[in-house]
């Protein structure tokens, strides 16, 4: 049926609704559509351009050494021609994972409180304060970490851990300076918390009130409602919020490099110093460029960081999609 109608209408183009000649307003519309399309393409192509540029600039070193030597090499001695990224890659993950582990429970509880329990008055004070926290420049967090967190780790947490958890390798204190993964993780947790909380809060507020009321109406407590109805609904969104925080943590540079110790070693404990990739690039790019391949090595470090974050994001997108699909299937 439809086909007959359309073939008819294409033949008879003299109808009242057809407009063979473009008028100014249809031309305007077409122009707007195309322009906006190009601007949409821009960020997509930017990722490609950055990746390709990094690939080109790091080509000398990728050509000179096998990839596995670079990625899994343990020793970083550019003057001797040894470029192992493994300590930096591990450092990045250690610091980010500690940050995430510290931040997530806190953020979850805060956002549940704000979205589900808090009176609107409490909310109207707490939300802007949290947003303000997100606006503090990283370097300020770095200074705060240096002055408060590093001594706190050194004087309080390290002795405590040494005393009670010292026999567990990841809690043992091998380098008692305070500078290290734990300090960086704490600073990171505080930095990414406002972001995660605000995303989680938005996700909680997407749950329709009808569902809350339906649960409360049969005599469920608020906590039963949250646990049985709301949390299952928002689980994919919670993962998304954590991923967003983790991406931020993986890339955070200045605040981390101020407190992490910057020693290129493979860490074995949260009290060890580490040297994450962003810190490596920020500390060294532009210096000692006379060393052969040094420039290419740093840019390939940037490439590795970019790929790590991309892969991480793609994986988490897949996880979220799977969760959503399972939710609709149930």
């Amino acid at each position: 049926m439809n086909q007959i109608i359309t073939s008819k209408s294409t033949k008879e183009t003299t109808g009242r609704l057809t407009r063979p000649v473009p008028t100014p307003r249809t031309r305007q519309n077409n122009f707007a559509q195309r322009t906006f399309f190009i601007f949409t393409l821009l960020p997509v192509s930017l990722i490609l351009i950055v990746t390709i540029a990094l690939l080109v600039r790091s080509w000398p070193i990728l050509n000179a050494y096998p990839l596995s030597n670079l990625l899994f090499g343990n020793i970083w001695k550019p003057t001797n021609g040894l470029f192992g990224f493994w300590p930096f890659i591990l450092g990045t993950f250690w610091v980010s994972i500690v940050g995430i582990i510290l931040a997530v429970p806190l953020c979850l509880l805060t956002s549940i409180y704000l979205a589900e329990y808090a009176q609107s008055k409490t909310r109207s004070i707490a939300k802007p304060v949290l947003d303000l926290l997100a606006a503090i420049p990283p370097v300020v967090y770095g200074v705060w970490g240096l002055l408060a967190i590093v001594p706190f780790v050194d004087k309080v947490l390290a002795p405590l851990s040494d005393r009670w958890l010292g026999s567990i390798p990841i809690f043992s204190v091998n380098q008692p300076t305070g500078f290290g993964i734990l300090a960086a993780g704490i600073v990171l947790a505080v930095m990414i918390a406002p972001l995660i909380i605000s995303v989680m809060y938005e996700i909680f507020s997407t749950v329709p009130n009808d569902l809350r009321h339906a649960s409360l109406a049969v005599g469920a407590t608020q906590w039963q409602t949250i646990r049985n109805i709301i949390l299952p609904q928002v689980a994919p969104g919670i993962i998304a919020a954590i991923v967003l925080g983790a991406s931020r943590a993986l890339g955070e540079t200045i605040a981390v490099l101020m407190v992490v110790g910057n020693i290129p070693q493979v860490p074995t404990s949260i009290f060890d110093s580490a040297y994450p990739l962003p810190a490596l690039i920020a500390n060294n790019y532009g210096e000692m460029m006379s060393i052969p391949l040094y420039d290419a090595a740093l840019l390939s470090a940037a490439l590795v960081l970019l790929l790590v974050i991309l892969v991480f994001n793609i994986l988490s997108m897949l996880v979220i999609q799977r969760m959503l699909r399972r939710k609709w299937a149930s």
Binding site: Q119, S120, P208, D210, L211, R212, H213, A214, S215, L216, A217, V218, G219, A220, T221, Q224, N228, I229, P232, Q233, K327, S330
Partner: protein
């Protein structure tokens, strides 16, 4: 009259705006009481004061008493979840929980740990779906998501879910306003069947529905109860001028 619910000197404020003004009513046991009146007159507010749902609304202030079987449900010693177990609510829009049909009926029973084992739960699900007139339609797909039901079926499922926690009172907040005529009729006949066992309070804005359902009527206007009493009397000879005008469809 054997009053199941007594409302005494109830005043409700949303901020500075007064939504209920000194409401005093009695709701008789095991009959259908219909609250009617023009929109914005406070009928839903009155209904929601009966299961303490007003507390969910931010900034609602309540003074006065609501007695259920002689006990003030706003007493500080009263557990709000127990109130809502005794006083069930059928909402305006059907709100199936995002789980299976079966789990929807089980939800409230599970919350209150009312049954011992799966067998008991299964029997209870069947029982309440039958009461809600839904069993025949869904017994072959109990584990399908509740959202796969039609909207009328969803409302009957919500009725079954509410009844499953063994309330004594059913509140209905315009429970058919989102439904098509046939589904509405279905819900109405359920409510009439159920009035043998439950005290029922329905808010409606359709006069014809009020006439079909009501044993007792409460007529409200601008936050005040203008007239309350037997449906027969009020529909045939309203005492108050405003009630008369409303019944004649003047506003």
């Amino acid at each position: 009259m054997d009053a199941h619910i007594q409302v005494k000197n109830l005043n409700v404020y949303y901020g500075k705006q007064q939504a209920l003004k000194d409401v005093n009513i009695e709701v008789p046991k095991k009959q259908i009481t219909v609250i009617m009146g023009p929109s914005g007159c406070g009928k839903t507010t009155l209904l929601k004061s009966l299961n303490r749902f007003l507390e969910i609304t931010d900034g609602a202030q309540i003074t006065g008493e609501v007695l259920v079987d002689g006990q003030n449900i706003y007493d500080s010693e009263v557990d709000v979840t127990e109130v809502r177990k005794v006083v069930g609510l059928l909402a305006q829009r059907p709100s199936p929980l995002p789980m299976s049909i079966y789990d929807n009926v089980v939800y409230g029973m599970n919350i209150h740990r009312m049954k011992k084992d799966r067998k008991e739960y299964k029997a209870a699900v069947r029982h309440y779906l039958e009461i809600a007139g839904l069993w025949e339609e869904v017994h072959k797909r109990l584990h399908d998501p509740a959202t796969s039901l039609s909207i009328g079926q969803q409302q009957r499922l919500c009725l079954a879910r509410g009844l499953a926690v063994e309330p004594e009172i059913i509140l209905g907040d315009e429970p058919t306003s989102a439904l098509d005529p046939i589904s509405s009729q279905n819900i109405e006949s359920r409510l009439i069947d159920l009035k043998q066992q439950y005290t029922t309070v329905i808010v409606t804005h359709t006069l014809r529905q009020a006439k079909r359902l009501a044993d007792h009527v409460i007529y409200m206007y601008m936050g005040e109860v203008i007239e309350a009493g037997l449906a027969k009397e009020i529909f045939s000879s309203p005492k108050h001028e405003r009630t008369k005008q409303y019944l004649e469809g003047l506003f």
